[in-house]
């Protein structure tokens, strides 16, 4: 999903040389956790292409895909409450 955060599995390292230049750029960006949409915007690659390149990197174990909270399961209520408290802090 466009909001999903991605980070490199091993933050200190350079991308493997056998990756395509686009994938190497994605790898470097993901040393800090970033969303799919941010990666697409930063590298000026369309969202759909970014998603494909990321899923290839994930298949190779090079990047980690973070959990996304959708609020559809009652078990996520705790996180939604944290989100609400965060908004209250920011916009009191």
């Amino acid at each position: 999903m466009v909001q999903t955060l991605v980070s490199t599995a091993d933050p200190g390292t350079e991308p493997p040389n056998n990756l395509m230049p686009e994938s190497q750029n994605i790898y470097r960006l993901c040393r800090e956790a970033r969303s799919v949409a941010e990666i697409a915007a930063e590298l000026k690659i369309p969202l759909g292409v970014t998603q494909v390149l990321l899923s290839d990197l994930a298949d190779q174990g090079l990047v980690y895909i973070h959990p996304t909270i959708t609020g559809h399961s009652p078990s996520e209520n705790q996180v939604l409450e944290r989100a609400l408290r965060g908004l209250e802090r920011l916009f009191q």
Partner: protein, 198 residues
Amino acid sequence: MGSNVSSNDTASMMSTKIVIAGGFGAGKTTLVGSVSEIPPVTTEAVMTEASRAHDDTSATPQKVTTTVAMDFGRLTLDRELIMYMFGTPGQARFWFMWDDLVRGAVGAVIVVDSRRLADCFDAVDYFEKNQNIPYVIALNKFDGQLEYTPDEIREALEISPDVPIIDFDARDRRSSGNVLKRLLEYTLSRPKSAELVG
């Protein structure tokens, strides 16, 4: 920017998203810009559409690619939780991509310009039919006043009785932030059932 997150924390970070919908020029991008901690970013999605049965385009290929721009902003809610706000493309012809954008959202805000109610009919219709995503109506006060009362707007747009209608000023950070808070409160107040599919 954002470099205060050490690599040890990174693995436990999570994200969530809300969708900002509404008619063209209703104030979606202004709302995102008011609350986002980064300047609103535009990203592009290349969409492929099967071409309609145009009788005069026999020389063109069967598929049409369209580039659609989407605005988004970001809020860091705590050390491990980030919320993204995505503006839906304003023109009705791009709404075939809404399902992709809306999937997995914790909720939606429909920004309404009360002087041009008809512009948000399609957005209201979409979210009234898609009951999985809780939504609120945010009435943008252009010139500091509203043309109609919230009750009149609920009736005119056929909005479900439990959907909150909030008046706000999209240019004002706190007023816009309040809309997001109300949406989260509303999302939390709704019963959740396992049959809801994300």
